[in-house]
């Protein structure tokens, strides 16, 4: 399935828990903010927001990464734009 992941750099405090759990999807930049990767790759350069394909297992782990964020800086949407995390 296609998902969209958005990091709010203003909320991110650089705890890096998302990187520990989902290193293929998140990476810290020099400003100590998490950027989004598509399976380890930052096509078109570094970005705080990215659309990508993910298997169900991959999505489950990405959600786990988002859940680990103490400032809820990571939002995950499905292809219809429905917010998967944080639950609304």
């Amino acid at each position: 399935m296609k998902i969209r992941i958005v990091v709010d750099p203003d909320l991110c405090i650089g705890a890096a828990s998302c990187v520990t759990i989902a290193p293929e999807t998140f990476e810290m930049n020099v400003e100590n903010k998490a950027e989004v990767l598509d399976h380890g790759v930052a096509a078109d350069g570094p970005r705080y927001e990215r659309e990508m394909d993910a298997t169900e297992d991959e999505l489950a782990n990405i959600i786990l990464g988002a859940q680990s964020c103490p400032t809820l800086a990571i939002t995950v949407y499905d292809e219809t734009g429905k917010q998967l995390y944080p639950e609304v």
Binding site: L11, T20, N32, S68, P70, T71
Partner: protein, 389 residues
């Protein structure tokens, strides 16, 4: 197993409850929590105080969530006794609740300074944050140039206060007992980089001050230092650390050192009694030493791991912990075990005017690191510590 009791509804205890419920639909799960709130993120409190997020965003769970998950939460309740041999806890309301498994997730007790008129602020919980917002509003009504805050302490909470005061244009003085920020932990160079950043940012730094006396009876008007200096302020932000509630656990037969002593499975010496989060002094398999860490991911992951163990899938906890913060925008990270006393060797690997890096070695292995100003090597260092090279 019929009853699982969790003392403490913070991130460690609540995650444990959530994971237990995922694995078992029937067992009764009860969280006993001293505060009157559903789970919230302490890490979000500075964002809330600065007005970056509304108050409701601080909360991670609603009361309905507990209901929907069939997790009983008892807010505003304290436990006065734990009977390990007969397996029940007694609340201050006089209720006796039996358990088959007990998870101690109560966090720590804040170190306080005592004798506290209005204006003395701590940043432990959402109530403290509410109060601090009120104090800031009042301070901002003073004429410009007469808006003063003092920060007591030189660690993580102190940095949050400095950043908050700067955000609101409140003039800031910092008072520390030691020679600078994290004086018992950091090298002289690291301390000097932080001190320089603070002073350049307009912060008054007062080091080696063994005592701080509050001026003002009902409301703080300032502080008097042992060196004779008087500092005016309407807010005194205190961040001088935490300690475990030693006597409570000891009286109840639970081994306490710098925290509740547990192994890498988060098990105490008593069967089916566990400790997780800030209150646990656990055996860290990565650095081969018993440690206490007070950070979010550590607590959350321990909650997850202990749930597995209780449900029969005995799982060791293993994680390279890190703390990340900033001083007036200058980034810094503590990775792994950065205890000076137990390190065999500390290497200052970077030392410029604006950056510092220290690596902590024990038995020839890298066990921890501090990065200040330039944190680009964070991922590499974390991997090196994890690989136990």
């Amino acid at each position: 197993m019929e009853n699982i009791i969790i003392l403490g509804g913070g991130i460690a205890g609540t995650t444990a409850a959530e994971e237990l419920r995922k694995m078992n639909a029937d067992v009764a799960i009860t969280i006993i929590e001293q505060e009157h709130h559903a789970l919230y993120s302490r890490v979000l409190l500075p964002h809330y105080v600065k007005g970056k997020i509304p108050r409701e965003k601080v909360f991670l769970k609603t009361w309905e969530w507990y209901q929907n998950k069939n997790i009983e939460i008892m807010p505003g309740v304290r436990v006065e006794a734990i009977d390990i041999s007969n397996r029940f806890v007694k609340t201050t309301e006089g209720r006796e609740l039996p358990f088959d498994a007990l998870i101690l997730a109560g966090g720590g007790e804040l170190n306080v300074i005592g004798g506290e008129p209005r204006g003395v602020s701590y940043l432990r919980g959402v109530d403290d944050a509410d109060e601090l917002i009120g104090l800031i509003r009042e301070t901002l009504m003073h004429p410009e140039g007469d808006r003063h805050g003092v920060v007591y302490g030189g660690g993580f909470i102190a940095l949050e206060y400095i950043n908050i005061f700067q955000h609101f244009g409140i003039l800031c003085d910092v008072v520390v007992r030691g020679s600078g920020f994290w004086s018992s932990l950091l090298s002289e160079h690291s301390q000097s980089v932080l001190a320089k950043k603070a002073i350049e940012g307009g912060v008054g730094l007062h080091c080696n001050e063994p005592e701080l006396n509050i001026l003002g009876e009902r409301e703080v008007t300032g502080v008097k230092l042992a060196s004779g200096i008087d500092l005016p302020c309407s807010i005194l932000g205190v961040g001088i650390g935490m300690h475990p509630d030693q006597s409570f656990y000891r009286d109840n037969g639970i081994e306490i050192d710098r925290g509740i002593v547990v192994n890498e499975y988060l098990e105490t010496a008593h069967p089916m009694v566990y400790a997780v989060g800030d209150t646990a002094q656990f055996f860290d398999t990565v650095v081969a030493r018993r440690v206490v860490y007070g950070n979010w991911m550590n607590a959350q992951t321990q909650g997850r791991v202990v749930a597995k163990t209780i449900m029969g899938e005995r799982t060791p906890f293993s994680l390279v912990s890190s703390y990340s913060t900033n001083l007036l925008g200058m980034q810094m990270v503590f990775i792994g075990d950065v205890d000076k006393k137990t390190a065999d060797e500390i290497r200052q690997t970077v030392a410029t005017d604006a950056t510092s890096a220290e690596e902590f070695y024990r038995a020839g292995k890298l066990v921890g690191a501090v990065l200040i100003g330039d944190i680009t090597s964070r991922a590499t260092i974390t991997k090196r510590i994890a690989s136990r090279e």
